[in-house]
Amino acid sequence: MIYFENVSKRYSGGESGALENVTFQVEPKEFVSIVGHSGAGKTTLLKMLIAEDKPSEGRVFFESLDIHQIPKGKLPMFRRKIGTVFQDFKLLPHMTAFENVAFAMEANGRSDIEIEENVPQALELVDLGEKTWNFPGELSGGEKQRVAIARAIVNQPDIIIADEPTGNLDPIATYEVVQILKKINDLGTTVIMTTHNKGVIDELGRRVITMDEGRVVRDDKEGKYVL
């Protein structure tokens, strides 16, 4: 489904996050965790997937589509196939949980009727049915991240990309968020997650790609957190 083909990225300023000849592929319905120290290039990989960053060499494919050959005008259509979740949630503070999720549907040009139907379902899926009308400021970190996940899945994307989704959360919230990501994966959506959290990886027992200094150093089918 996703293919990284000899992808290298060099930054002129020598910043961290560079990649060196990265090759791997992700199958549909897989749950892949990418682990590594800060600056190992995990986030750079994810940015390439959503066409936020370009490789210096190599190619990234989504199915048969070379992501970095997509014309600018068609990028939004492509990004709709991917749901994104970030460490800092990226929720809009002046909108309620419902509105934050609905916003993603509005931006995709979905009808009001669809929004009325799908947003409560998405919030229900992340166990936030009770907090539909709360603002982000009134929610805990875990709850905020769950709103962000609801927003990511509401347009029924093919893949969910989660960049350190548990980075700002306490252990209980971390557990809840990972359970939800697992549930989404079980429902058939591919999940690619970067993390630092050893407990999360060990508990998941899914595929783990380990990166170090821009290279893939391990790729285990049912991996553990080894660094």
Binding site: I50, K90, A107
Partner: protein
């Protein structure tokens, strides 16, 4: 499509209110610009009307001696009417001239007494010649002078030819109109640039304050139009609001100026404004919308990489 439009318009409105104070500066400078645009337009009309008015007053009068034969006068009238460029030749008979004279001097007892003393009508008939263009008077005048020269010196019929030269006034007014147009145009250009720059920066600030929202929009795959649209809506709103304010300020000003222009220029600027309201309104709002849209498109394409 309609849903998208509604959403873009709504978020444009929200952005407008969220940056209300900054929006005000854009509206202010745009109001001044539109005011100058419509002001130049109206002053141009006013001067144009008075120029037409003065041009209308230019004519050539041919005065005949009292003894001139009616047939000779008619012959001259016919040849004048056959001249190219002559719009109208008006005949005033001796009697009509006398009545006119008496009316003009009805408060001048001395003159009327002198007239009565004469016992007979001392006035001759006359022809008033009007040309299509002011430039054609010179050739008509030349024709009449030639006619006068060809007459039998013992028995002339033309007493004198009076060419009321308003050329100097016409030229002066034309140059005033030209100067007003140029000054108006330069002022307008300067203000248009100022309006575009300020609106540009206002939109830029609006983009800056909503950068978080924009990044989220991009992440969820919002189309370029969905991201850029609201800022263009804001630009258009500045233009429309500024246009309405400019007209609201102009209205009482013209109510006040109307009678004064009517006496001074024989052209009531207020009635012109009222009878051409739809046109003026469209020009002002259209200019405002164009200014707002251009500045916001510039800002969006410069600062909103999507």
């Amino acid at each position: 499509m309609w849903t998208d439009f509604k959403r873009i318009a709504r978020s444009g409105f929200v952005g407008f209110w969220r940056n209300a104070f900054v929006s005000l500066s854009a509206i202010f400078v745009m109001t001044v610009t539109l005011f100058v645009v419509v002001g130049t337009m109206l002053v141009d009309q006013l001067l144009g009307a008075s120029l037409a008015n003065i041009k209308d007053k230019v004519d050539i009068n041919v005065y005949f001696v009292p003894t001139a034969e009616q047939t000779d006068i008619e012959a001259l009238q016919n040849s004048l009417e056959a001249l190219p460029g002559v719009a109208e030749v008006k005949f005033t008979s001796r009697d009509a001239a006398l009545i006119e004279f008496r009316e003009r001097h009805q408060n001048d007892e001395l003159t009327l007494q002198a007239l009565d003393e004469l016992g007979e009508n001392p006035l001759g008939a006359s022809l008033a010649v009007r040309a299509n263009e002011t430039s054609q008077y010179a050739s008509i005048n030349q024709f009449l002078l030639e006619q006068q020269e060809q007459e039998d010196p013992q028995n002339p019929i033309i007493d004198r030819v009076n060419f009321s030269r308003n050329e100097a006034a016409i030229e002066k007014l034309s140059s005033i109109i030209g100067a007003v147009e140029r000054t108006g145009l330069i002022t307008m250009l300067v203000l248009v640039v100022a309006a575009v720059v300020i609106t540009f920066n206002t939109i830029r600030l609006a983009i800056y304050t909503t950068r978080e929202e924009i990044s989220v929009m991009r992440l969820v795959g919002a189309s370029n139009m969905f991201i850029r649209g609201p800022f263009m809506v804001q630009g258009v709103m500045y233009g429309v609001i500024a246009g309405v304010i400019a007209i609201l300020i102009l209205y009482p000003l013209l109510v006040w100026l109307g009678p004064a222009t009517a006496t001074f220029f024989q052209f009531n600027i207020f009635s012109y404004f009222v009878s051409n309201f739809a046109y003026i309104f469209m020009v002002v709002i259209g200019t405002g919308v164009a200014l707002g849209l251009i500045s916001s498109i510039l800002a969006v394409s410069r600062y909103l990489r999507v």
